[in-house]
């Protein structure tokens, strides 16, 4: 649905970096690993939150 506010494992706030990550690594051409390094998302628990996330608001919004 929406990116979780915090990392499930360590509790670091990751929602903060989502939009930039999406713009640069998903829609842009940059290497996700480099973008995450630059954003300061260092731990692999936080990185998987970003890498494995899918926005589903567009998918569910017709059913309201």
């Amino acid at each position: 649905m929406m990116i979780p506010v915090r990392c499930f494992t360590c509790g670091n706030v990751i929602g903060e970096h989502w939009e930039e990550f999406k713009a640069r690594a998903r829609e842009g051409e940059e290497d996700p690993a480099e973008v995450l390094d630059e954003l300061g998302v260092d731990r692999h628990c936080c990185r998987r939150m970003m890498v494995s996330h899918t926005d589903l608001v567009d998918v569910v919004s017709p059913y309201q």
Binding site: M1, M2, I3, P4, V5, R6, C10, G11, N12, V13, G15, E16, H17, W18, E19, E20, R43, D55, V57, V60, S61, Q64
Partner: protein, 249 residues
């Protein structure tokens, strides 16, 4: 406990720090870590009154997300249990961000401004009023000010000689902070956590430095690392004093 602790700052910025503390027992080190997580209070949204929520998420789901947004906490102005009021009103098409939240007290603000709360489509609207309560991590994990607070032994790396010429070149992975022979503190990230990068072809001896701990402290932004640490130490001291007082005959 009679001796003073010797504290050295390895790295420090507003939200994360590495501190080397000498003269600690493991019990005190762990006590400090636990205190940082569970005894230092921070603000967090506790009750939400939804005026309108026509977004794709349920009230409870939005409420849960709001609870996790870190809020800056002026600890001098509030007591545990006191609250501040926040409000948000966003109409789609737009995304409601944590930065859109308005607060009754300027000192209680969302620590991060770009956390998406919910994406709103045409005609959808989110309006609520919320109470943020000052409480401790013991009460609910959303009140924890520290994130990934931990410690490791300081490790001393000494070169004892050259490695045997026909020894297999295996990586020698070490995490945390090391102390070199001349007392310099180096984080292992500087040589990619592999000692063979730093001392190629050498035989090394690694030992834990007794009663020296390197704390890694990260804050979610509700408090600065300095304040988090100092408040934790204060809380630990207060409770130790209280215990001493109650146990005394």
């Amino acid at each position: 406990m009679a001796d003073d602790f010797d504290v050295e700052v390895v790295t420090r910025d507003d939200r994360s720090a590495r501190l080397l503390v000498r003269g600690l027992t493991p019990a005190v080190a762990n006590g400090l870590r636990r205190t940082m997580l569970s005894e230092v209070p921070t603000f967090s949204i506790d009750t939400v009154r939804f005026v309108e929520n026509s977004s794709v998420m349920f009230d409870e789901m939005v409420g849960l997300r709001l609870g996790l947004v870190p809020l800056t906490t002026p600890l001098d102005d509030y007591e545990v249990g006191e609250s501040a009021t926040l409000a948000l009103d966003v109409e789609g098409p737009a995304t409601a961000y944590s930065g859109d939240i308005e607060t009754s007290d300027d000192l209680v603000q969302p620590a991060d401004e770009n956390v998406p709360i919910i994406e709103l489509k045409e005609g959808q609207r989110l309006e609520f009023e919320a109470d943020a309560v000052l409480d401790t991590g013991k009460e609910h994990a959303k009140h924890q000010g520290g994130v990934a607070v931990g410690y490791r032994h300081l490790q001393r790396v000494t070169v004892v000689g050259d490695a045997d010429e026909f020894d297999e070149e295996e990586p020698n992975i070490l995490r945390g902070v090391i102390e070199t022979e001349d007392g310099e503190l180096v984080h292992t990230e500087e040589f990619d956590a592999d000692l063979t990068n730093r001392h190629p072809g050498k035989e090394l001896e690694i030992e834990d430095v007794p009663s020296a701990f390197v704390f890694h402290i990260e804050s979610d932004g509700s408090l600065s690392v300095d304040e988090l640490t100092l408040r934790a130490v204060q809380s630990l001291r207060d409770r130790a004093d209280e215990l001493a007082e109650k146990v005394a005959v």
